[in-house]
């Protein structure tokens, strides 16, 4: 995962905006704040599709989205953009009329919304910085969740396997008054299963500690 400072140097923004005046303004602000910024503009949703369908397209690390494109707008537009850009922060540019929709879209995973008439270079800069910080945080949590899901799976399948065997052997011993030979055999099996479980538990503990270590490094 790239750090923000790195991204800032190589920032590449996709602006979905059909209005020329609004676009020029945003472009100016971006260049003022991030001198080396790469800006790609799409005027319509079909422009955007054409751009993203191109396999040799430049890597985009931020999207600025106007809520009214000629061929798609509002909620549907937001949902499509978010679904296709899970790892890329998206900031909405809106007028006063869409303020409610813009606010609601935060729940859908939009990082921020800016009211066009109020945008200044410093507001835009701050919003972008926050968006990156938030998206890095979210990605970090997602990565952790993935590890936790793996641990849960291991607990359920790998740890429970020897445990279930131990319980099964105990069931068996309880149901029969075996000869001593048999009992010794089952005791040996109990020891094997217990050792196996011990090893698995130790491994899981190590993995959990790894997660903590990773946190400390960052």
């Amino acid at each position: 995962m790239k750090k923000y400072q790195e991204i800032k140097r190589t920032l590449s923004v996709l602006v979905l905006e059909d209005n020329d005046g609004d676009f020029v303004l945003i472009e100016d602000y971006l260049i003022e704040t991030f001198r080396t910024v790469q800006i790609k503009r799409c005027k319509t949703f079909s422009d955007y599709k054409e751009f993203t369908d191109n396999p040799t397209k430049d890597n985009i690390n931020l999207i600025l989205l106007d809520l009214h494109l000629p061929d798609l707008s509002g909620l549907e537009l937001i949902q499509k953009i978010i679904a296709e850009n899970v790892q890329v922060p998206v900031i909405i540019l809106t007028g006063y009329t869409d303020l409610y929709l813009a606010k609601d879209s935060l729940k859908l995973g939009i990082d921020d919304f800016l009211v066009k008439d109020e945008v200044t270079p410093s507001i835009l800069h701050k919003s972008i910085e926050f968006a990156f910080s938030r998206s890095q945080y979210v990605m970090h949590i997602e990565a952790q969740n993935e590890k936790l899901r793996k641990i849960a799976w291991t607990q359920s399948h790998v740890v429970r396997a020897p445990l279930a065997r131990i319980l099964g052997i105990i069931n068996l011993i309880e149901t029969e008054k075996e000869k001593l030979d048999d009992l010794m055999f089952w005791l040996k099996q109990l020891r094997i299963s217990s050792n196996e479980m011990d090893a698995v538990v130790k491994k899981i503990t190590e993995e959990a500690q790894e997660i903590q270590l990773n946190n400390n490094v960052e």
């Binding site: 359920s156 065997r165 099964g168 069931n171």
Partner: protein, 134 residues
């Protein structure tokens, strides 16, 4: 009348052995067929097809070569009529909810048991499908 056959499909030999011991205590006429994975299970089950007697399958999920899900997919893709004498139970160490939900998508699965099988579980499995010899 032919004896009932129990297919134990599990990669853990100790687990298979425990199940056989426990079950044969309750019905000494049962015939056990051990399969160390789903692939072996399918092969041995193919030989069983056409026989009149009922059979019970105890299926583990997490196995090498062909796991329980792969086994179910294969069984399900065949005609269910071929399996009207078959009672299939999942027997897994997994207590994962997604596994239990997933198993419900297979109509051939009668029930999902967590390991180990208790006496009550075995009574349930045997009584439901095997009438005691008179």
């Amino acid at each position: 009348m032919l004896n009932k056959t129990i297919y134990i499909i599990d990669d853990d030999p100790i687990v298979r052995f425990i199940i056989e011991k426990m079950m044969s205590k309750m019905d000494s006429t049962l015939i056990f067929i051990h399969c160390e994975n789903g692939k072996v299970g399918l092969e041995k089950l193919n030989g069983h097809q056409g026989e009149f007697s009922k059979c019970i399958i105890l299926l583990d999920l997490n196995m090498p070569l062909l796991d329980g899900w792969g086994f179910l997919d294969e069984i399900q893709s065949r005609k269910l009529n071929d399996y009207k004498n078959v009672a299939l139970y999942i027997l897994s160490s997994s207590t994962d909810k997604p596994d239990i939900e997933r198993s419900k998508k297979y109509s051939i699965v009668k029930k999902f048991y967590h390991k180990p099988l208790s006496i009550a579980d075995i009574t349930e499995i045997l009584d439901m499908h095997i009438k005691p010899a008179v």
